[in-house]
């Protein structure tokens, strides 16, 4: 049994609004080559592979058919999760801990630019009987939730706009980001409403990209052989899938996933024990809602104040989304969580260049699968 599991290699493709020059297979091949080189391994050594993908965002049914060749996984154990990439990390940790295998690769990617009508696909995710016939823009779900969240917590629209300004400004220092911009909160607030109170500019734009991660048990992850970043805890949870019965204020799925991960990591006081956070910001308010669910603020309203006074900025005492987040990097479907994880690995290794934080010993990555889901994961990494 591999009690301890480490990430020993990461391969990241720069997120971009489109990627016509590469098929999804070629994109995965390039990211895999980067990851294996980073880990100092040969593809043939890998014992198990996990891909995170949904058929309908690939446009191919039973998508796992098309995953093995470009990762070096032919005639190897390989399966697909229809989940965010951080679930893939949790899956790999469980495989390794079970003692079944010693070296696992996790992959997720986005070819969002190939979707001609993404809102129709999202609409297809709504309950076919209760919700779909109402024929509303599925992003309305975020508007409904944001309204409830602001109302219940006292967080303001201006503070949500500040999240966008912070993250897109952070992205200026990240060459992997598709949407860097030197923005001010006022600029965001002049953007039109998508669905009140959510503004256009507060929704992360989509991007293409791919991340491949190599994980190993302790025996293979010695510092002499690689630059291991240890997985201290993983958690994943769903709240209710129905719009009619979910908690619209508190992100219960993250509260439970965080409890699971904190428990494994032995973390009692996340603020004191975790140096940096990469959390889901598919919509600006979500960053604040997720931080609250992670137990960072005793009172939710403090999450709004923290972004306002710069505490959650790169130079603040508790940096959040120094990578640029999904608002800055772009939302990359199921790869979104892995971009956040890659940032933490980079920071913990001290390889973040212009974004490098002075103190980066323990980091937390968190994901959410977007509307209409209540599906989220948390991974805690340490040096």
């Amino acid at each position: 049994m591999n009690e301890r599991v480490a990430i020993i290699g990461v391969g990241v493709m720069a997120a971009r609004p489109s990627s016509e020059h590469l098929s999804f297979k070629e994109m995965m091949f390039e990211a895999a080559q980067k990851a294996y080189a980073d880990a100092g391994i040969d593809a043939h050594e890998v014992e198990s592979f996990v891909t995170c993908a949904e058929d309908l965002t690939e446009g191919i049914s039973i998508f796992d058919e098309y995953t093995p060749d470009q990762l070096g996984a032919v005639q190897k154990p390989m399966h697909t999760l229809t989940q965010d990439g951080l679930y893939g990390i949790a899956d790999a940790v469980m495989q390794l801990r079970s003692g079944l295998v010693g070296l696992v690769v996790v992959e997720a990617h986005s070819k969002h630019s190939n979707l001609e009508n993404p809102n129709s696909i999202l609409n297809y995710a709504l309950d076919p009987v209760y919700n779909r016939p109402l024929d509303f823009n599925p992003h309305v779900i975020a508007g409904l939730e944001m309204n409830g969240f602001l109302h219940a917590t006292g967080i303001t629209q201006a503070q949500c706009a500040q999240v966008v300004a912070k993250n897109r400004t952070h992205a200026l220092k990240n060459i992997a980001a598709a949407y860097p911009m030197n923005l001010r909160a006022e600029d965001v607030q002049s953007s039109p409403y998508l669905c009140y109170p959510l503004r256009d500019a507060e929704m992360a734009k989509s991007a293409d990209g791919c991340v491949v991660v190599v994980l190993a048990g302790a025996s293979r992850a010695q510092p002499s052989k690689s630059r291991p970043v240890w997985i201290r805890g993983v958690g994943f949870t769903n709240d209710s899938p129905t719009l009619e019965s979910r908690d619209w204020i508190d992100a219960q799925y993250i509260r439970a996933a965080a409890a699971m991960a904190y428990g494994q990591a032995g973390i009692k006081d996340p603020v004191a024990e975790i140096d940096l956070f990469e959390v889901d910001d598919a919509y600006a308010y979500k960053e604040l809602q997720h931080l609250v669910a992670l137990g960072i603020y005793p009172q939710a309203v403090a999450a709004g104040r923290a972004v306002e006074n710069g505490e959650s900025g790169a130079a603040g005492k508790m940096p959040v989304n120094v990578s640029g987040g999904s608002l800055g990097i772009g939302h990359t479907l199921e790869a979104s969580g892995l971009y956040r994880l890659a940032e933490i690995v980079c920071q913990l290794r001290g390889e973040a260049g212009p974004r490098q934080l002075p103190r980066a010993k323990v980091g937390l990555a968190q994901s959410w699968r977007g509307v209409p889901t209540t599906s989220g994961a948390v991974v805690i990494l340490g040096r």
Partner: protein
């Protein structure tokens, strides 16, 4: 803690089958929805070149210098050696039937009087066993054989679009080389 026994296999299972009569009676409400799903897949390098060459009336493969295979359909990576492939190689538009079927049902489950003849065709010039999926025509279904030699029949250049269907179908080239069991 007492030992409990898991209940034996059930003789009655749940679930309510619907039959055509129940549906007709109108007692059951149904919701219909036709999803609007449209995709434009990036072809990338390997498939982009493959399709471009089909438009030119040629089949092209990729070779790996390490395992010395010539691969069709082409890919930019060798899945066995896990390294980039090296060279573009034109292969012939002739080949051998590796396996075939006589299919009396269309993709959307309409009954066909004359069967379609899908086949895996091993391509001349590619490594042994390197086949592609396509259709054989201009042959009586009873005469199709595994091992039969076939040639591509191309659409006229003006009708080609850079698609696998730029080859209209494959047809037998040398009846004498046919061997082994008949289709039926």
């Amino acid at each position: 803690m007492t030992h409990r026994t898991i209940k034996p296999a059930p003789n009655i299972v749940q679930g309510t089958p619907l039959d055509a009569k129940a549906l007709k009676r109108g007692k059951i409400f149904l919701n219909s929805y036709a999803p609007a799903l449209r995709y434009t897949w990036d072809t990338g390098e390997a498939m982009g070149r493959y399709l471009a060459e089909l438009k030119n009336g040629r089949l092209i493969a990729r070779s790996c210098r390490k395992c010395e295979r010539v691969m069709i359909p082409p890919r930019m990576f060798c899945e066995r050696c896990f390294r980039p492939t090296d060279d573009w190689v034109y292969v012939k538009a002739t080949g051998t039937v590796n396996t075939f079927s006589l299919c009396y049902v269309s993709w959307d489950v309409r009954r066909l009087k004359q069967p379609e003849i899908p086949a895996v065709i091993e391509i001349d010039g590619a490594s042994p066993g390197m086949g592609i999926l396509h259709l054989v025509r201009k042959v009586a279904p009873k005469d199709v054989r595994i091992g039969m030699r076939v040639a591509a029949v191309w659409k006229p250049p003006a009708q080609r679009t850079g698609s696998i269907t730029d080859i209209a179908y494959w047809m037998p080239i040398n009846r004498r080389s046919q061997r082994t069991v008949s289709a039926k």
